[in-house]
Amino acid sequence: MRQGRGVNLDFSFLTWQIVSSFVVKGLIFSVQLTLIAMVGGIVLGTLLALMRLSGKPWLELPAAAYVNTMRSIPLVMVILWFFLLIPLLIGRPMGAELSAIVTFTLFEAAYYSEIMRAGIQSVPKGQVHAGYAVGMTYRQTMQLVVLPQAFRNMLPVLLTQTIILFQDTSLVYAIGAYDLLKGFEVAGKNFNRPVETYLVAAVVYFVICFSLSMLVKRLQARIAIIR
């Protein structure tokens, strides 16, 4: 097929039918994984952040240990760890896709928790005191006064972390889960056109991540004005 010495790119095999049968399935999983890990990660991350700021050593220490451990290990190793450990814990094998969802949620929680911690600390102390002064409990103060402000202040950072998360989902390659990158790879293998498919994969990831980061920038500008 590839004759001569010149570069001979041919994208014609990437018809909509091929894309929809190989790539779309992977894209759906990548997006699913990103969204679940984002929501789960932010919820768990917020809990971890509250534990670390609770002032009680028995809550602070485990949360800090968890966050620091996760942040010191390469994500690929974490993916491999969970893929190895989850079946041992639950006593039966778990699919690569489900394992990836659990892993990313627990892994991203560590990163989101650092963001939420900074967000909570960015809310002036007086807000907390004001909450207590009007008779709110700790829970109410956090839920109604501190967290909404922390969340809004940190929204751009949380979304930027989500873009990184979306890029990192490609690492499920290590356990063979079928994501966006895998979809392109399989298509490339089937048609013996790996160069073209990797190139298109890069363009697709770039377009998605770049447009999302532009959106985050605009959002950031708007939030800055409101404040």
């Binding site: 690929v76 890029q167 690492l171």
Partner: protein, 246 residues
């Protein structure tokens, strides 16, 4: 699971015999030796990529603070390009795509291609740090340099960069730790680094937990050493009275 079996590290990688003193003979190696050689690959990939990233990232970061619109545009484009494509995809681009488009690259060993991939990926992040570092300096410093008759390059060399680089040491430290972690992605193109070792040794020996624990510990040690080294550098170069000095 059935208990620990740390002896796995003393096994010969060829026939699985436990070797005396954990050391292979006659050209064979044990898993322990393999692991340390893999650690060497991880550290070499990371160190060389860091070098590439520091040089390229600093240049791109500096260029983004110059008055030249063209250079700023180039620097911004560079940063966005390398920041918005996943590292794994970038490694595949260097490994599968670029050699097909640029034939001389075929002569490059995959180790070099991975170093370039990781280096350029990280250069985008470092350019952000360097740019922010330079922009955090009061504008007056640049004007003062120019007013004294220094050329723009001289102003950068003698006025702006000496301060900016000190300011960016802490973020660069965390980038250096990230680069060790990110070097694990090189497993995808079969570089014999730690993660590759972990996957293969786990498959061959089925002692995944022992092997993963040891590999994870080596990643911890690497990060800790970088952290300490950076701390020493930070102390050495600090300017009394300013930025983060006590």
């Amino acid at each position: 699971m059935g208990g620990w079996d740390w002896q796995v590290f003393c096994k010969n990688t060829v026939d699985g015999e436990v070797m005396p003193r954990c050391f292979g003979s006659g050209g064979d190696i044990t898993y322990l030796q393999w692991m340390f050689s893999a650690w060497g690959w991880t550290l070499s990939v990371a160190a060389l990529a860091l070098l590439v990233a520091l040089v390229v990232g600093s240049l791109v970061g500096i260029v983004r603070t110059t008055p030249s619109k063209g250079l700023v545009l180039f620097g911004n484009a560079w940063t966005e390009l390398f920041r918005n494509i996943p590292l794994l995809v970038q490694i595949f681009l260097w490994y599968h795509v670029l050699p097909a488009l640029i034939p001389p690259l075929k002569a490059f060993p995959s180790f070099i291609l991975v170093v370039l991939a990781l280096g350029f990926f990280t250069s985008a992040r470092i350019s952000e740090q360097v740019r922010a570092g330079i922009q955090s300096l009061p504008r007056g410093q640049r004007y003062a340099g120019l007013a004294l008759g220094l050329t723009l390059p001289q102003t950068y060399r003698h006025v702006l960069l000496p301060m900016a680089f000190r300011i960016v040491i802490p973020p660069l430290t965390s980038e250096s730790m990230n680069i060790v972690k990110n070097s694990s992605v090189a497993f995808a193109v079969s570089i014999a680094e730690l993660t590759m070792f972990a996957m293969q040794a786990q498959e061959e020996t089925s002692r995944g937990i022992e092997i993963y624990l040891a590999v994870t510990a080596l990643y911890f040690v690497s990060a800790f050493v970088i952290n300490r080294v950076a701390h020493v550098i930070e102390g050495r170069v600090r300017v009394p009275g300013i930025v983060g000095s006590k």
